[in-house]
């Protein structure tokens, strides 16, 4: 491969005429991770911006090929670490399609999944809003956001056992039923949320400094957004009402009432408003899921070949012990085939292309990371703008580098 020896970048800084090449990152506070941008600048304005990624490449896809199907969601959660359950849901739904058990997932499991995914969406948007505010000098927003996120992380910990990567969603259902008092804590969050969102809006939405920094900055036209395959809030901020939850309903989303907020301006402020509105819609979905979860029921599929039987039965039943042992020691086999499963993650369409050759390990797991494609649009957005506005653009695209680099 002769091309593999092509040097990565020109010299770090070079002059030519009035323009100059400057490396921004990979260590830079406002790049939200290890992002390097090679900038060609003339004075303060950007002529060309070329993001360099890969500093966080950990080979998750390769790792997943070498682990059981039942281990996949643990790794998937590490990609977009701000919205772990979204990744897990997408992977789990894909495997269920390959197994052909999508119709046999209990309703309660579906609603628990929806509840979890919408909680992580709010938590993820909280991190985005907090860091976006810090980029623009609004420090206090960060604390309000992280306080709200902390409540959600506590809920994740209660359900799955871990704050950041709960590993709660499993193939066939969820790991266990919701613990006692969980739904009451969700109620408390639902009650707290409107006031907190009002405070967040009060801090930024009408703030003249924030508006000056974001309105008409980083404009992404509809055509550009579609050409760069931008999805999620960034696409809806440009006026396209594409939401996977509505276009291809999964996990019972067709039973929920919610709107898909869109804006037509396509600037950083529009994306900001879309995300705030989305948080409101998410809390509406959470309230509906909470109502649906009043009725008890099974939380996982009744198939001991796929989902291990309850731990209590192991001491009483030989079959349960064998099933448990088989699933832990060699996982389950998945019939051969390929499938593309997509969900609406906090950043856009999150997709998994799964290939099984009939073994107990995936043959190939290809992720469609929304952040990768959203970030790529920076190449089209940045030229002609100021370096200071570049920071706003990165913040408004909300990339997560665990997912961009994988």
């Amino acid at each position: 491969m002769s091309l593999s020896s092509t040097p990565l970048t020109p010299e770090i800084v070079s002059h030519e005429g009035n323009s100059m090449v400057l490396s921004m990152g990979p260590q830079h506070p406002s790049t939200h991770g290890v992002l390097q941008i090679m900038l060609e600048i003339e004075g303060e304005s950007v002529i060309k911006a070329e993001p360099e990624i890969g500093y966080l490449h950990t080979g998750i896809e390769k790792n997943m090929e070498n682990l059981f199907w039942s281990h996949g969601q643990t790794n998937a959660e590490r990609m977009d670490y701000l919205a772990p359950s979204s990744n897990a849901l997408c992977y789990v739904l894909g495997v269920e399609q390959l197994l052909g058990i999508t119709d046999r997932i209990p309703e309660r499991a579906k609603h628990i999944r929806v509840l979890n995914v919408e909680l992580t969406r709010i938590a993820s948007h909280c991190v985005w809003l907090g860091t976006h505010g810090i980029d623009l000098g609004a420090i206090s927003v960060f604390f309000y956001c992280f306080d709200l996120r902390e409540n959600i992380l506590d809920l994740q910990e209660a359900a799955g056992g871990a704050r950041m990567h709960p590993n709660y969603l499993r193939v066939g259902g969820v790991n266990g039923d919701l613990p006692g008092g969980y739904l009451e804590r969700v109620d408390a969050l639902i009650a707290k949320f409107p006031g907190r969102l009002k405070e967040l809006r009060g801090l930024l939405q009408a703030n003249p400094i924030f508006q000056d920094r974001t309105i008409d900055v980083g404009i992404l036209s509809v055509e550009e957004a579609v050409a760069w395959s931008v999805t999620g809030p960034a696409l809806r901020g440009s006026g396209v009402a594409y939401d996977v939850r509505k276009a291809f309903p999964y996990s019972g989303y067709d039973q929920y009432e919610f709107n898909v907020p869109t804006r037509t301006e396509g600037d950083a402020y529009a994306r900001f408003l879309v995300r705030l509105d989305e948080m409101e819609e998410s809390i509406k979905i959470i309230a509906q899921a909470r109502e649906k979860l009043r009725t008890p029921g099974p939380f996982a599929i009744d198939d001991p070949k796929i989902f291990p039987p309850p731990k209590e039965t192991i001491a009483l039943s030989m079959e349960a012990l064998i099933h448990h042992f088989k699933i832990v020691s060699e996982g389950f086999r998945v019939p051969p085939g390929d499938v593309y499963q997509a969900v609406e993650g906090p950043r856009g369409e999150l997709g998994y292309y799964l290939v099984s050759n009939g073994e107990n390990r995936p043959y190939r797991v290809r992720t469609r990371p929304p952040s990768l494609y959203n970030l790529q649009a920076l190449k089209g957005m940045a030229p002609g703008n100021l370096i200071a506005d570049l920071v706003v653009m990165i913040g408004s695209l909300d990339p997560v580098f665990g997912e961009v680099d994988r």
Partner: protein, 214 residues
């Protein structure tokens, strides 16, 4: 209830996507590498405005060995309402190619193909003719090999060749077979040296150059 555990009749499949077409998550189309660009151009004109993803799979034992998969979405460009978006059609274009064969780039049709093709080149070594900037994207620029190929070892070629030191050491010493070349005596010697070094005052330690202490 039939068990989902039943292994496939022919054991494991060498060509998994060819075995089963029952999952209707998308329309599937198989295209020859030579006809690929023209077909995708036609599809784009037909209304497949978005190239959602582009990825590759390495079917090591199959001919053709590689497969590049394009995920397309048929959506009107300025669909401002949910009704206008509706349920857009999904299309999966699969293109098989052998080792050494090239594919035409589609970054002239969809800008988003730029990084996706770079990633396929980086991790699988598939070349795209006409790509404006085909270089590694995830791995370091001087990396050798293409990690997502099936014949690429999980821990990388360099570490695969070297013995595993950390876990093997203790049990190997007990079994008396040190494949790492380290005997029990050598290990004890190392521990003794480390302990002596720790017992000595700081300034006497080997490699300590002195200077102000903080």
């Amino acid at each position: 209830m039939p068990s989902t555990q039943t292994p496939p009749i022919a054991g494991t499949a060498i060509d998994p996507p060819g075995v089963r077409r029952a999952i209707d998550d998308a329309v599937i189309e198989v295209v020859d590498p030579k006809a690929l660009h023209a077909r995708l151009e036609a599809l784009r004109a037909e209304g497949y405005t978005m190239l959602l993803d582009l990825g590759a799979v390495d079917y090591l034992e199959r001919v053709p060995r590689f497969e590049v998969v394009y995920h397309l979405l048929k959506m009107p460009v300025a669909a401002a309402t949910l009704a206008q978006v509706g349920t857009p059609a999904r299309l999966r274009v699969r293109c098989g190619l052998n080792e050494g064969e090239h594919l035409p780039t589609v970054s002239d049709l969809w800008k988003s193909a730029d990084w996706a093709e770079r990633e396929v080149f980086d991790l699988f070594g598939i070349l795209f003719d006409g790509h404006p900037d085909l270089r590694r994207i995830q791995m370091p620029h001087d990396w050798e090999g293409h990690p997502l190929r099936k014949d690429y070892p999980l821990r990388g070629p360099a570490r695969e060749r070297s013995p595993r030191p950390a876990f093997g050491l203790k049990s190997n010493v007990q079994a008396g077979t040190p494949p790492t070349g380290r005997t029990l005596e050598a290990l004890q010697e190392q521990i003794r040296t480390a302990q002596e070094s720790a017992d000595r005052p700081k300034a006497e330690r080997k490699g300590f150059t002195g200077g102000e202490s903080t």
